[in-house]
Structures are given as C-alpha cells and as structure tokens.
Symmetry: C2
Subunit: 616 residues, 2 copies
Amino acid sequence: MTENTAAPTVRLQFKPDGAAVVVPAGETISSAAAQAGVFIALPCGGRGTCGNCRVKVLSGDVAPPTEAEVSLLSEKHLEAGVRLACQTLVYSDAVIEVPQSSRALERKEISLLRRREYTVCPNVCHCVAEVGEATLGNQQSDLARLRDELTEHMDVPPSIQALRALPGAVRNSGGRVRVAGVNGRIVSITPAAERDGIYGAAVDIGTTTVVGYLFDLSTGEYLASAASYNPQAQHGADVISRINFALTEHDGLAQLQAEAISVVNEVIERAAAQVQVETRHIFEVTIVGNTCMHHLVLGLDPAHLGASPYVPVVDEAIDVEARDLGLAVNQSANVHFLPVIAGFVGADTVGVILAAELVGQPRPVLAVDIGTNGEVALWSGSELFVASCAAGPAFEGAQIQHGMRAGPGAIERVDVQDGDLVIHTIGGLSAVGICGSGLFDAVAALLDLGLLDVTGRYAPDGAVSGRAAGRLEGEGTARRVELAHAAETADRTPVLLTQTDIRKVQLAKGAVRAAVELLLRRAGLAPEDLSEVLLAGAFGNYVNPRSALRIGLLPTTLEPEQVRGIGNAAGAGAVLALLSVEERRRAEELAARAIHVELFNSPDFQDVFADAMFFP
Amino acid sequence: MTENTAAPTVRLQFKPDGAAVVVPAGETISSAAAQAGVFIALPCGGRGTCGNCRVKVLSGDVAPPTEAEVSLLSEKHLEAGVRLACQTLVYSDAVIEVPQSSRALERKEISLLRRREYTVCPNVCHCVAEVGEATLGNQQSDLARLRDELTEHMDVPPSIQALRALPGAVRNSGGRVRVAGVNGRIVSITPAAERDGIYGAAVDIGTTTVVGYLFDLSTGEYLASAASYNPQAQHGADVISRINFALTEHDGLAQLQAEAISVVNEVIERAAAQVQVETRHIFEVTIVGNTCMHHLVLGLDPAHLGASPYVPVVDEAIDVEARDLGLAVNQSANVHFLPVIAGFVGADTVGVILAAELVGQPRPVLAVDIGTNGEVALWSGSELFVASCAAGPAFEGAQIQHGMRAGPGAIERVDVQDGDLVIHTIGGLSAVGICGSGLFDAVAALLDLGLLDVTGRYAPDGAVSGRAAGRLEGEGTARRVELAHAAETADRTPVLLTQTDIRKVQLAKGAVRAAVELLLRRAGLAPEDLSEVLLAGAFGNYVNPRSALRIGLLPTTLEPEQVRGIGNAAGAGAVLALLSVEERRRAEELAARAIHVELFNSPDFQDVFADAMFFP
C-alpha cells in the first residue's frame, strides 16, 4: 500500500494501449479507466452483478476480492489476477490489462452498421504473389516478373517507394511478396512472410471530440475504436473561435492543423495498439467532420467559412496522400475526405445521411445531429433538405454555470420521484456538474413539477408546492434550482441551474427547433408527416427522447417511440466509406443531391425562432 | 589591369546563368567560357571572321577591340561593351553577358528534332479561368465555381497543394487564375496576373556527362540547354564502379542518388537561368540514362544490374513526383523516366531509337551509341535488335596515358599532311592531351602512314620511312608515337600514344564491332545490307566517319557518307517524350518490341570479338 500522508495518488496504466491516469488511491479501476479514456463496458451499471468488466491486474496493490467477485470469478482466474473493474479499488501504482471483451466497443454506431447492408469493397487491394527467379534465359525485370503473377485488378503502376522495396522483398522472401495497391497504384511490396495485414481507419473529427475506428480491410471486420478530445478546444469551444484563431494568430492555421492531425493520430494509434496492429499497415483512412474541421485537417484556409456568403474552399470528396497530412499511418495510404455540403453542413452530416439510410425511406424522416453546431437533414420522401443552426455549446455543458462534458461525475439523468428531483451521475460518482442529457432531463422535470413556466421563467416563491419547490432560491437572473445538494457533490458545493442557464437552453433548443420547422415548411410537410426522428451524435445517444419532446426540441406531435438515438452516425458514415467504394460513391451522390437551405436567408426565420424558444 | 606578379589569374562570371571560372589573365572570353561550361558558338572556329560570338562585357578590364571586332561590330555596340568572345582577352575579374544568340544552342540533336515530325501534346495541361464570385445566392465552393469554367480536359481532381492555394489565388486576382494539371490532377492554381508559364525539362544523365534541355510546354519551343559532368565520376568512371560503390559503401546508394539529383538540378537551373524561367514553373521532366543511371536517380538498388543475370528492378516507363526525387522544379511536377530494355540497354538507347526514327525505315539501319558502355540497335527492316558491349572508357580518353575528355586543349582531330601528323586542339589551345575523336583520327592516320600494322603493333625502327617515322620511339609496350611535340603542348612535355594505348583502343572498338556483327548475324543480314549507320552520343558527334571505318569500328563495306553523327539522340528522345505523350507511348512500344541479344550468351562471341580486334 502507498504510505503517503494526505491525498495519496496512484498512477494506473492500461494495457495494451498504454493510456495512463493519476487518480486518488482507492478509486475503482473502471472509474480510473474512464478518466484515462479507456471505456470499459458496465452493462449492470457497475453494480458487480454481470461480471462483464473483467480486467487483469498485472502489477500493483489492489483491494481483496469482493463478495461479487468471488461469486462471479473462478478461483483460477482470481489467482491469475483477473478482477472486475467496477469492484476493484486500487491502492498503489498499477498496470491493468483491459481485454477487448471488456471494452465498451459495441458503440451504438457500430450496432447501426451491423444492421445495415453493405458490400465490403475497400479502395485498397492486396494479394500475395510468387515472383519467379531471374535467369539468363529470363532477364525480365523484377517488376515484370511480379506483374506476370498479378491479376488485372492489381496490375497497376508502382509508387517509387514500392519500387525501392521490390528487389529486397523478392530476394528476402524466396519470391513470396505481399502487394498492396491504393488508388490504382501499387504502394507497398513486402516479403509475404511478415505478419502483416491490410487495415483501415475511419475518423470522425468533431469540434469537441474525435473518434477513430479500426477495421481489417481484408475482411471488413471491426477491430477497435478510441476517442479523445480535440486539443483545438484550447482556442475556443466553437468553430467560429477556431476560424478567428486561424485568421488572427501567426501561423494559426498551421497550429490548428497540427493539433487536428495529432489527435487523429492519437485515436488511430490507440485503437491500433488495442489489437496490436502496426499503423504502417493502415493503407486507407476516411475522415468526416464539420466543414471547419474538414478544412483545418486539410490545412485549407477556413476564413471564408466564417463570413457571408460562407463558402467552403472545396465541397467535393477529396483524396490526399497520408504523408501530405502527416498522418502516422502508411505514408502512401490514401486519406479520403467525404464531401461537405456547405460552409456549416459538413462531411459529418453526409456521414449521418449515408449511415442512417435517410434517402429512400418510404416516409419522411428527420435526422438531427446536435452539437455546438446543429445540423438537420430532412428526407421528404422524394427530396433531401439540409440546414445548419447555431445551437451554441449549451448542449455540451459549456456556458452553463455548472455545465460539464459527459465525463465521470456528470449528472447525466434527472428523474422525478415523489415530487422531487433524483439525479444520476456518470460512474455513480459524487456529482461534479451537469452534462447535456442531464440538462434536458432537468428542464423537462422542472417543467413537469411546475418550477418552470412555458416562457422559461422560474416560478416565484410560494407559487408551487411540493418537495422540489424547496430547491428554488434567489431572484431575477440569479434565481436557481439546486440540482445536487452540497452533500451529494464532489467538492461539497451544490450543483445549480440558474435562470440564465435556462435561457441558454431555450436559445439552443429554439435554434434546432426552428431549423426543423423551416425545413418541414420548405418541404411542404407538417410535423405529423414525420415517421421518425433520428438523433445522431454522442449527445443524441444519451438524451432521453421523452425529455427532448417535453422541452420542445422536436415537434410535440411525435411520440417518444418515434425518436431514436443512432449514436455517432457521422463516424458510421466514415466507416462505410472506408469499407466500400460503393458507399463512398453513394456519399458523393447524397451530397450532390442535398438541397442546402440557408436559414438566415429565410424571411420567416425570426418569427419561427421566437416561437421555438417557448416550452410546450 | 591585374597587377599580380607571376601567373596572375582572373575570375570570370557569365550572365545570366551565373557560371564562373578562374583562368590565367589574358585568356580569350570564349576559351574561359568553355572552361566554365558556357558554350559559345564559334562557326568560324574562333578566327574572328563570322561575328557570331557577340558577348557584352558588363564589368572588368579587357583588351581593346581587335581589327576583326572593329570591322564586324558597330561603334554603338562597341561603346556599349559588345565584343567578340573569340577575340577579346581578359585582364581582370570580369562579368560577361552571353546572349542566347551567341550560345552553341543549336546542338546537333536539336537540329535532329527540327527535321523530325511530331505533335506537341505534353502531359501538362493548363488554362486561365475566370472564377465567379460567391454570393448568398450562389454558395458554391471555390473549387465548384472554378470547375464551372474548366473544359472537360482540365476538369480533374485537385492536389491538396493546389487546393490550399485556391482561396487566395481566386481572391487576389479578381477571380482570374492560372490552372496547371499533370497526370490527371490539378497541381497548381495561381493568380493569372503573375508572369509565369508552363515549362518542361528533358534530361539525359550519362555516366560522364549530364545534359538538360528546357522547353516552353505551351508552344513546344526550345529555350535553352546546359551540360555538366556527373559528380558520381569521383567514385569511378564506369557503371560497374558506381554499382560497387552503392554495394560496399555505407549509404552508398543514397550518396550516388544525391549526386545524380544535384547535377540534374544544376543543368535544369542553369538552362532556366539563361532564359529567366523560374524552375517552379517547370511542371514536367523527362529523364533518359543508361539502366544504372536510371536506377541511381530513382534510388533503386543497382546491385542486380552488376551480376548475372543482370536484371533491372523495373523496365517499364515510370512516373514519379518531383518531390519524391528532390528535384528543384515544381514539387508537383511529374518526372517521367523512359523505359529501359535490359540491365545494360537503358532508357538512353530507347531515346536514340525514338529520336532517330529507326523503326519503320524501309531498309536496315544501325544506330551505335558509343560511350563507356556501348549500345547498338539494329532495325532489320522488320525487327528491332539491341545489344550492349563493354567498350571501356578508352573512347572517352580515360585509361589512355595522355587521354582526356573533349575539353579545351584536347587533340580532337589528327590529319596526315606531307607524310606527317597534323594535330588540331579544341579551342586552338596548346595541346593538353587527346580525346576520343582525336584518338580515332590518330590511329587511322598511323595505319595510313604504316606506323601501325593490322594486328595493332607499332612498326619496328627502320621499317617505315617518311617524316612521321621520326615520332616513333621506345620498345615493347612502352613503344610510342609523339603526337604533339613538347613545344606544342601546354606543359611543355609531349603528348604520346603508347602501344598499350593502341591495345585499349583495339579492345574498345573490337567490342563495338563484335556487337554489330553479332546483331547482323542474329537478324540474318550481311553488312552490305545496311543502308546507314547513325552515330549517337557526344562522341559520335565528333568522330570522323572515315576514321571510324579506317580502324574497323564499323563494317568496311560502308562508305563514309553512310555514317552520320546525330548528336545526343538519347537527349532528343527525352525531349520528344517531354513534348508529346504520343511519342512517350511510342517509346514504350519501341522498348517492348526490342529484342535484347545477350552477347555473352552468344556461342560465337569469343571468335567474333577476337576477329574484330584486328585493324582492316
């Protein structure tokens, strides 16, 4: 045991990806892992009843097995150091192995892909060939002898890098070489004896969060994923602040690009490390992101995105060599950027439309991707409309007094029980603040309890009774509800939701709702024509549809059953484009047919927006 | 005047290319220029009678105008510093401008091209486009608006470098941009107002000499050329020594590649400087060279060229981006390497066959490219045969006691007059040594005078009479002829030709002749079937056909009129591939149809070679 006095901390390292974190001694492995960005699946909510979160303690001092562990793990396993991450407290620096089976890998968007039909036909081709020996009777060049063994499909010109590797590869392998081709060019020739394969990565680069997915391109099999925060956030939470940074700082664009590339590399490397894949065997990368992120990753000047008429440098799909971006994959890998639609409707929206199979549905469907910038796509049954709206960062917990991202200790759910609020935090930890899904629930609950009226004003003292009423205090814009009492929080100060916070939620949801209404009008549809609303994005994943309807984010004609979270569908779109050139072509068709509706140009925008700010 | 005592030297710099040289004070400008690698055309042989070699003295102290200058130049010109390079002696450091019109630009191979028909259709396309302004009513991306203005031909995907330049180019030029495309990709977008153009360079990289040619690709116009020595020569004169260096030295291949690239860059930069072209406007480069040089420029392991079965890594034509080679042209430029045929029959031979239009001639034609490695190509009237032979460096003056390259002071011609030898040196300077063409003439003259017998042995004392007999002296392998007496030479020691030198010439010419004989046999032809023999290469340019026949380099059935020097036809082939994708395709067809005859495999090689060593 660590014998330090007062607030001892311990360092945990997670294998095989190598992520590490320093936490107070006595934390559970699962909580520490979450803080290190290693997501362990806790189907039972960390109550020690399912036995899913098995990890192996490779070194370090941990608490003895709990009753739950003794009943769920065999003696042999316990002796080998196998433990349940949700049960095991850590007292010293430790190294913990987290097997694939325990990771929260089955992200919602991966499930989305498993339900969707597509043909695995990646842009990368490869084969193993036996190259005949040269003789005085057959003085053909090394390449000519290799070509004799290649199918027409693979019989393409070599890159200079592949050519340089050719004579050694042929002679060091008894003639057995592995050949990989990208974009109609042979880019890699290696001795076939080497343990290598052909892998691909799909990346969704968000303003806040970046997610990478690793696939085996020879089988289309999903291998691993990893997520990280976008380090550009230090220059501002939204795309406008990034654009301003690029415009005003010396080498601002170069710096933002370097940060984007570093986090893309990080998620790819971490995903690859989980399954011991060498990144030089990654031959294709697909990338989605909003138009600003798209431009910043590519090193394209984003200045003209930020000012009317908000035009991108490029909207079509583009292919770039990995080395031109500094990506830490095979330097000849092709990096495919899905097309963007407009300055504020990016490749991420194209990914959502592609993955959710919006187009072609028999009845009208709406897809909403909620983030700092919200995008709405409406399939009318015959046409595809898209719009963007500036929701602001409130839904991500920013600019809310006690707002925070969806991390450990965030209030992620608020229920009403016996006339009072009941909070649930991520990881079941003491409350630290409130994240987006908690905010939706809290506002819905406050409306249900009568503590908020339809205009968004807190009820005056004495106007409501019940236990929750006691949480109201203060006056004017400082009037507030105490969501978590001091005793329930990590720092022993209450978590509050102020009148100003409520106003920010109203502005945010009003912007999204107005976009929905205006797209419906443009398509000549009424809200009741919608068969379904798909909520994309990490946020859409966790928000309670009932709360989303209760606060009026979506038309109240919808039933909660018609609102469905589909996870990071933008990332799923990137995966589809990675696995299938057919889907890649489809993405281009979808982007080309999308009708972009510029809301600020809409004469009824102000009216609709004002209406949309009220609560139902 | 420079007032240094004893052997004062002066430094001359030549504009606009910037080449410089240090020479003894009192040299002529033309002689100094030749030593600096600046070739001034002297149609009258430097006798001051044609007035072609006009230059402008920008600074420095020179002798007053000669009578020749006063009669050939106007007073106005003389006042402006215009002089004749062959007449003007330099006494101090000076800066001399050499106009295009005075340069020896009309190289023989350029004349060859002027007589040949071809369509100018380079691999580079370009246009000027007017890009419409973006508005809220037309929110198309910058690229989409550019595409609206491009013809189908130019409507190809952009490189990331071009995309990065796009928003600035459009907005800094009032929408008028110049677009350049290479290999089906837009690689450059610049404001059209800039003074720029689309240029290309063709390079012949020889074991000894590297020549670069600059062309305007929008018109196909020839602009300039420059030549330099291959710095790899420090590691050995022939390709075998280069291969050994690559094999045995640490980073040997990398060093040889760097040297090759540096000299290619030098000739391109010097040619471009002559006509004030910025090298970043060079978008296409074509390269020919023997297979070893081809591999070394590309950074391909040449090891397997040097050992049986002598196979290249690649033989087909290949395209590489300039930046992958470190070429100092536009980084997105395409560098096209013409195909090679075999380990010792390279892209230079393909260039000769292409430029000389060998294939398709109604009657059998032979092309011989003589260098350290000799290549022979025979068009039989229906088939194309090629072979290589190891002539050794004797023809380039190496390994000959007083041998030297064809530079100032080299004995380049030997005549018989009044029963004695009369020598002519390059630049009319005091003799320094003897170069290849002089060697041919000297041996032919010695045979004519009876000083040499058919076996290549010098006549014994007293066996011959006449004035030349007095030049014979010494015994055995040291027996020699004094070609230049001490009084005629630069260092006041005689220039000799020894019995051993004669043996080396015999080995060299025997190798070439044997290759010719064996190809004729393989084609089922007799020497008298040949309609013509083309001598390619700088050497073939200067050799006297009569001497070549006299010493038996070529079948004696030929008349001197049937032997024609065609200059650096390999370079001309590179030019054709630069100017025309049709010619490029033709080069690939020619390489594919060439039948490579491996002479060492030939059962009668030894016999034929032994025969070929005798003099006729």
